[in-house]
Symmetry: C2
DNA sequence: CGCTCACTTGAAGCAAATCAATTAGTGTGG
DNA sequence: CCACACTAATTGATTTGCTTCAAGTGAGCG
């Protein structure tokens, strides 16, 4: 996800250890003590950044490592026999990719950089081995996988029961809240996905996405200029998304802060 | 899933250990040696069977354990703020439920028995602890979670890109192959889900499911009588589902057996 | 028997897909 | 610098697959 005033990538950052990483409490080291983080650090490889359009891995390749996004963003998509693509994940800094490949040791999807993206590579055998000795790491891995399962199920609900407006609103609200967690603006950002990709992700066509954006804009909910989005009424968007009363990720909500 | 000539549940079966369980190689013990299976056995609790319509857990309840289906079947569904339900899982014997609750220790969905169902309860803290000491168990847990992620993504693709016929065909083919793995007939079975539930699961209405079944029947692909289904042309169904060339789960496929 | 419930079938309506035309940005080469 | 091709996005017109509404069937049950 390209962001408002993105920080240039410094070469020194490539050597940054987990313990100094700003994404520390979103990523794998969450809940580990300093010593254990050092041990985790030892198995993690920093890679040279991927350029936009470069593949991290392709569907069918043998699985050897998980990857954590450090900066930039990655989309994953799978292809069926007929050749149509389905985007099934958008990964932001601090998020872990490749979890769907563990069970048969082959990547079921391809991963491609949406912009210049730097990553940490975490060899899975070493990680499994290490997590045998660090209960906190072990638990955090389960948590991350569990979260992915739960969020896929939310997306499923979206697809099964929501109309175009509700889907796009939910997508934007979800993105907004994830950006906020990463200390980026939650109301102003650049989409790294094209309209076509958003449509694919949400099970809609590009025309429908475009029309729905226009509609939101005419209702004064947001402003767009190509990939730039400025949310003017986040609360209303949440309510369209069907998340009006769910403030679990939003400490602004009066009813929650009161309780 | 009610099955052709289902085996009556014997009381003695409740005491059966993992090592004698027919589901052994589909479930958690897969890949463990006899000794380790015994250790797993010690933490697992056999529960008295649930009757049809009884809840295993409800959305919002605190998560304490995973559950493995021994016989019968369970559906899980979540509810959004508007109160509409979304079925997000159908669990057959040997399959593990509750994985989506690990990350925030609360069940995001409810689980209800579709028929008389017996289960193993696996306290999660004990399981985590045990898997620290048994690498194979640890790995198997990752595999199971990874598989759930991958299968949710397949379902997502279904929802995003497939029409009613393709979705129902994919559902039936998937069910058929899972039943086969469990040594049940893959062409003749009873659906434990109602038409309404199938529709909900696939993001369609009951009327569309009914019409699509009728359509399949008139094309000679299958016969139905209420919940009973007999598949007459599994190959054609697979091709409708978009899985014609994918024989990964079907050892009948000549091109695969040849290789 | 009459009631309910699960399902089926038909007809009408609608949201989103498809088809189509236009605009605007991006890159290429003369 | 402009002409040209190419791609991404917007907007309008038309079509369509599924939903919604409606009516009816048949099994199961007190």
């Amino acid at each position: 996800m390209a962001l408002i005033s993105p920080q240039p990538i410094k070469l020194s950052a490539l050597k940054t250890a987990c313990k100094n990483c700003k994404l520390h409490d979103l990523c794998l080291p969450l809940g580990l003590d300093t010593l254990d983080i050092d041990r985790l650090d030892e198995i993690i490889k920093r890679r040279k950044p991927l350029q936009k359009g470069e593949y991290l891995f392709r569907s069918g390749e043998v699985f050897t490592a998980l990857y954590a996004v450090r900066s930039g963003s990655i989309k994953t998509y799978s292809e069926n026999e007929q050749g149509d693509e389905q985007i099934n994940g958008l990964y932001l800094p601090g998020e872990l990719l490749g979890l769907d490949a563990i069970h048969d040791e082959v990547h079921p999807c391809s991963a491609i950089a949406l912009e210049t993206t730097s990553l940490c590579e975490i060899p899975f055998i070493a990680l499994e081995d290490l997590s045998q000795h660090i209960p906190g790491l072990h638990h955090q891995l389960f948590r991350i996988m569990s979260k992915e399962i739960a969020s896929d199920q939310t997306l499923l609900m979206l697809m099964a029961q929501k109309n175009a407006e509700e889907r796009l609103a939910a997508f934007l609200v979800n993105l907004s809240s994830r950006l906020k967690q990463r200390n980026f603006s939650d109301i102003e950002f650049f989409l790294s996905l094209s309209r076509k990709d958003i449509g694919n992700y949400l099970g809609l066509t590009i025309e429908t996405i475009s029309r729905t954006f226009s509609h939101f804009q005419s209702k004064g909910l947001l402003e767009t200029d190509r990939k730039y989005v400025k949310i003017l009424d986040l609360h209303k968007l949440k309510s369209i998304a069907g998340l009006a009363s769910d403030c679990s990720q939003d400490e602004q909500c009066p009813s929650k802060t009161a309780s």
